[in-house]
């Protein structure tokens, strides 16, 4: 319990620090709002993170209004053996993994690298992929991407089928049973609640404000800005300071770039992974084959028309030069 209070204290400290640094820091400059039409990205410098969890609690405080308030008892869902209830409503303070009430948590790792033991704290949440499979494959468009690069799950439309989680390379979205639109249809036959994840405080961003986890961090670990600027900066730091980057190429490119003094494969080996505890491995573009097929889809009708025209051309030729055929 003490543990939590001290973290809360740090959160307050972080808030005070932000206030001291000037409220201007909390407002999103015009360029950051994506006025240029570009996606927003964040840069997280793991060298600075002390693992205080001020960001975790800032996220919780800032987004509490969006958290699920499930109706109990839960409807019986069939087939009972296949459809498991996922209930985090009695365990809202869990901060050692992602849950519907914890959209950001700190992964703590001890790694040995270059003969030195190092401790790293990694704030983990949705990566806000550039081409997010969670959004592209959501059957209802409830998971969708905004033009500012934010991927949001609309909790009013989500049936909680967890497809977004299944197709996410990091299995980020988390389900809460007993809430959402599925209750209004056939709750025992389809759906199982609503999926939740970091929405990059899209409502704050829309107001020109900066996400809570960024403003409340006492160490200034995170930075937000237009994707091109963030990438340029990340690459420059990697080059000049010999650090490693994650998120740039992963899943075809994400809007969350981590900077680490230790290679990410070393971190990943030491990482505690599992449900709600994402890996930090290289990830190929999940949408690559679909993108290739969609290009073929553009060519398909043209090929059909060309083939038909070719066939008819041969026929017309036959019709209009019967003598030649007869002579053969």
């Amino acid at each position: 319990m003490n543990h939590k209070i001290s973290r809360r204290d740090l959160f307050t400290k972080g808030a005070k620090r932000t206030a001291a640094a000037g409220i201007a820091a909390v407002a999103l400059p015009q360029a950051v709002k994506g006025a240029t039409g570009s996606e927003l990205a964040t840069l997280l410098d793991l060298r600075k993170c002390i693992g205080c969890e001020a960001c975790v609690y800032a996220c919780k405080d800032s987004n509490a209004k969006k958290y699920p308030e499930p109706v109990k008892p839960f409807p019986v869902m069939h087939p009972v053996k296949r459809v498991k209830v996922e209930d985090w409503s009695e365990n809202r303070d869990e901060t050692t993994r992602l849950t519907p009430y914890t959209w950001l948590y700190i992964q703590r790792v001890k790694v040995y690298y270059n003969g030195k033991e190092q401790e790293l704290n990694i704030p983990r949440r949705c990566m806000h992929c550039e081409n997010p499979p969670c959004a592209n494959l959501c059957p209802w468009g409830s998971a969708h991407k905004q033009s500012n690069g934010i991927t949001v799950i609309d909790t009013e439309l989500c049936f909680g089928g967890a497809k977004c989680k299944d197709v996410c390379p990091w299995k980020i979205p988390q389900r809460q049973t007993g809430v959402g639109i599925y209750l209004k249809f056939a709750p025992s036959l389809g759906g199982n609640g609503v999926m939740y994840k970091c929405d990059r405080c899209y409502d704050k961003i829309a107001q020109g404000e900066i996400p809570a986890c960024i403003t409340e961090c006492p160490e200034g670990v995170q930075k937000i800005g237009p994707r091109e600027d963030i990438i340029r900066e990340a690459k420059a730091i990697a080059l000049s300071e010999g650090v490693y980057l994650y998120g740039l190429e992963e899943n075809g490119g994400t809007n969350t770039i981590y900077i680490s003094p230790v290679p990410f494969d070393v971190i990943d080996r030491a990482l505690e992974k599992g449900d709600g505890k994402p890996h930090i491995q290289p990830v190929a573009d999940s949408m690559a084959s679909a993108d290739l097929l969609s290009k073929a889809m553009v060519i398909a009708p043209l090929a059909g028309i060309a083939a038909a025209a070719g066939k008819n051309f041969r026929m017309l030729k036959k019709i209009f030069s019967p003598e030649k055929e007869n002579n053969e």
């Binding site: 081409n131 468009g141 679909a290 969609s294 059909g304």
Partner: protein, 156 residues
């Protein structure tokens, strides 16, 4: 019209039926149903629970169907118009397929990097796609049972 044309139409018909079946199976597979209801537990059907596989097969099916449609539509206007007549129910089917195709293509566009559609529009496309798919399947089934053809050969 010669025999080889009729034969090619017969093959095309079977390819279209197989493709439409694959599209229907993989289309419904976009909803999280096959794992829940043990379809993927049937030996040989494990792939039905892999969204990437069903999604790619769905796209491949769309490619085949679009190619066939473009091919036979072109040939219809260039060559078959005097030979075949599209029936009333045929026009209904064409309408359903057109809505499915247009909403599907728009959904493919929405899934491209750097393309952003509003949530409402995507939801509308999803609904349109699924409602018209169900309408198509039901009406095609009924026309088959009561033996109403989509196209008729004109008597010469």
């Amino acid at each position: 019209m010669n025999n080889s044309t009729d034969k090619s139409l017969k093959y095309a018909r079977w390819i279209a039926i197989a493709t439409l079946a694959a599209l229907a199976i993989t289309g419904f597979g976009q909803m999280p149903l096959y794992k829940r209801y043990y379809v993927s537990s049937i030996p040989g059907f494990r792939w039905t629970a892999d969204y990437y596989i069903t999604h790619n097969i769905h796209y491949a099916g769309a490619i085949i169907l679009l190619t066939l449609t473009a091919y036979y539509t072109t040939r219809y206007f260039m060559q078959f118009r005097g030979v075949y007549r599209i029936t009333r129910q045929g026009f209904g089917i064409i309408l359903f397929l057109a809505v499915i195709a247009v909403s599907g293509i728009l959904k493919v566009i929405a899934s491209q990097k750097g393309v952003y559609f509003s949530l409402d529009f995507i939801f509308f496309l999803d609904l349109l796609h699924i409602i018209f798919s169900v309408l198509f399947l039901i009406s095609a089934g009924i026309f088959k049972i009561i033996k109403l053809p989509w196209v008729e050969r004109l008597e010469k």
